[in-house]
Subunit: 427 residues, 2 copies
């Protein structure tokens, strides 16, 4: 298994991950329409009915037989007999035959026999109950057909869709009040390191408060998982192993973030290996920050070892943990991932970006994918991306960065003024 | 007040809104660190302490007095006496003076007297307890100063910040376990129209299910508000008025979305006017879709009348309601809004976008800001934006669109192949 412990490219690491691990099929639960936003659909949603259920007018005007209007013009209007004023929200009472028309509002139901509507602007109503049609319409004109929006039996929202406000509206339109969604995977989060204390504590000399449990738990939530913060493990094999075992009992995935010591990383590799099969399958990725990433699994439960540096941990999270959670939710097909990852470093979904120009040169070592955190500055010409560099003032860096740019593995850097796509950090 | 009832541009409408209404200052509540993601900070968060609390090394190597290394080289190394091996997470026991060095890990605390660190790669440890330094360091090199990341008293996160995972981590770093956040404004949501039935119902002829209550409530939630669905008001002045009054009692803002009839809109204008001052101040905006927007207020509670068409209602929501909720949360300064709205049609915040090229020509009437819904298609050259046009198949349109492009008021349209910024719909 020695070859596993070579540093991999981001794409290789993703391929290895998804070749050693298949997400268990998501469990489905029902939630009310008012609770489903941001959840991922657990089953295809099809319409049981035609929408609209009747042919409807898209204009205020007159329902007609199109052939009655052929050749009509201002100088030679067609004259039709008006037989009904169809109220909004009612079935028409009168069927149309040649020579007849019915007044109809926008959204009104077309009477039987009618096949088009004439806009009121192209008509003139006469006191004798007739209407002059000044402009011809073709069959189907100004009409939305029965089932044209959604036809009965058709797929409206496929399994795996992450529900946005318009989707919630569409579910309401179909009468889907109990929405089948993928159960959120539970993700156990462990911090390690003898120097780490809980945020409630006052750190003693050389101690620092636990950042990663909270930033990673928030990231899990943002990705659609349910975080379970287990606490801080001491920097020994036994302490880490018992914490990871607790995580495996209570959760569907375990994330360990390492302290700054090399020991922690070694413990994580041993613990993950011992809790296999399949054990550890990735150990180190050619990405900065985030290199010391460990990936493994115990059965079908993924085990991640993320760097202790908070910024690195979040970069590794977005590259590897987020797509894994997406896959568990059914929101990502791992076979698509492998294909697209080869193009652009794990761009598997449409990522919110902002186009900006670099305020300064950025250098990068070839052979490594660099993620550079940036702050966005807007002027009248658009956005500028200002790299946040310098010594790793990690807390300030975290809160100041609005997103990041990716310098690909084969690049030596980017020049000042280059147009870049800034991936925005999500909330 | 007749001039109020002229159709306004988007920028004029926003200016009018924020000149007739000032958001009440947000109430602040405390939530636990694990509950604060996506919430908006209700107070500035400052650090009570220096981070790091001590000078620390950024490398594995030796803490030294920089002046002891001046002139050192491979051929003429400086020789220093090693007095301590500083363990990670402990205060050094020995102070350094000229000629002395201490071994130090990355993150280790600098001993008193030291002002720089030499990377281990540039040293050679000798068996007699001395170390050879092959390369000079300048004062401060490879050291992160006490308070360099965050200095005691400095502002880390300003009031109004919407908290993302890295911000949650930063709060943990400062020991802020109870986070002061702006209370979510309660937003009452009313649908109107005699043809509208609840989603649980089986629509009769000409009836349709209530879409807007649910898509708007989900949008309120997405914007950071707390939606309160009041139900469906009949299409009479009295029914609408009593519903809006209920909304004013229970909520901080009321949103009415109109049915398709003109009557509903007239009722909303009268109800909003009668519940003033200030009453109605915007009636109609030159935007498609979304034109029949009504804005008013009862005291400092905003009243919105949105179009009945679900897609139009969501466009109007994102243009006017979302910034109002942002302002109530303290996440948006209305004076910035007015300034930037003049540039780009209400681009007040960094909006997640994707750069794409148009798959076809898009026409637009000058004098009106057009929002065109698009679907994104990715090929090897990047993204294409495919406009979703045609008859208003509203449900399909809603679920198929991944975002929209904005055709400015002074444009007659955009050509196929034009590079556009697609604003992504948020979840």
């Amino acid at each position: 298994m020695d070859w596993f412990f070579q540093v991999k490219t981001v794409e290789e690491a993703l391929k290895t991950l998804f070749s050693h691990w298949s997400p268990p099929p998501p469990q489905v639960e029902l939630v009310h329409l008012t609770e489903c936003r941001t959840r991922v659909l657990g089953a295809d949603v099809r319409s049981n009915e035609d929408i609209p259920p009747h042919c409807r007018s898209t204009v205020d005007g007159y329902a007609v037989l199109a052939k009655d209007t052929f050749g009509a013009s201002e100088s030679l209007p067609a004259i039709l007999q008006v037989v009904e004023d169809i109220p909004m929200g009612s079935l028409p009472r009168r069927k149309l035959t040649a020579g007849l028309a019915s007044k109809i509002p926008t959204g009104g139901i077309l009477p039987d026999g009618a096949d088009a509507c004439v806009m009121i602007e192209h008509t003139e109503s006469l006191p004798d109950g007739t209407v002059l049609i000044m402009k011809p319409v073709s069959p189907g004109e100004n009409v939305i057909q029965k089932g044209e929006d959604v036809s009965a039996g058709s797929l409206l929202l496929p399994r795996g869709s992450r529900l946005r406000p318009p989707d919630v509206g569409a579910l309401a339109a179909l009468g889907v009040c109990q929405v089948p969604v993928a159960k959120k995977p539970t993700v156990a989060v462990v911090s390690t390191g003898d120097e780490i204390v809980p945020p409630e504590a006052s750190p003693g000399p050389g101690q620092i408060r636990d950042i990663n449990s909270y930033s990673i738990a928030a990231s899990v939530e943002s990705a659609g998982g349910d975080p379970l913060i287990l606490g801080i493990a001491h920097d020994t094999y036994d302490a880490l192993r018992s914490m990871v075992e607790r995580g495996l009992e209570a959760a569907d995935m375990v994330i360990v973030s390492g302290g700054s010591s090399v020991g922690v990383r070694d413990h994580a590799v041993r613990v993950f290996s011992d809790l296999g099969p399949p054990g550890v399958f990735v150990h180190g990725v050619a990405v900065r920050p985030g290199k010391p990433v460990i990936m493994g699994a115990s059965g079908n439960k993924l085990l991640f070892g993320l760097p202790g540096h908070p910024v690195s941990a979040l970069t590794a999270f977005s590259l590897f943990v987020r797509p894994s959670i997406d896959a568990m939710l059914g929101a990502l097909d791992p076979s698509n991932l492998a294909a697209s990852a080869a193009i652009a470093g794990a761009e598997t979904v449409i990522e919110p970006t902002v186009t900006a120009r670099l305020t300064r040169n950025v250098s990068s070592a070839p052979g490594r994918q660099d993620h550079i955190r940036v702050r966005l500055i807007q002027d009248k010409d658009g956005f500028w991306a200002e790299p946040i560099l310098g010594k790793s003032g990690l807390i300030t860096t975290m809160v100041r960065a609005q997103g990041e740019i990716v310098v690909p593995r084969n690049s030596e850097g980017l020049q000042k003024g280059t147009t870049v796509q800034v991936r925005l950090y999500s909330t």
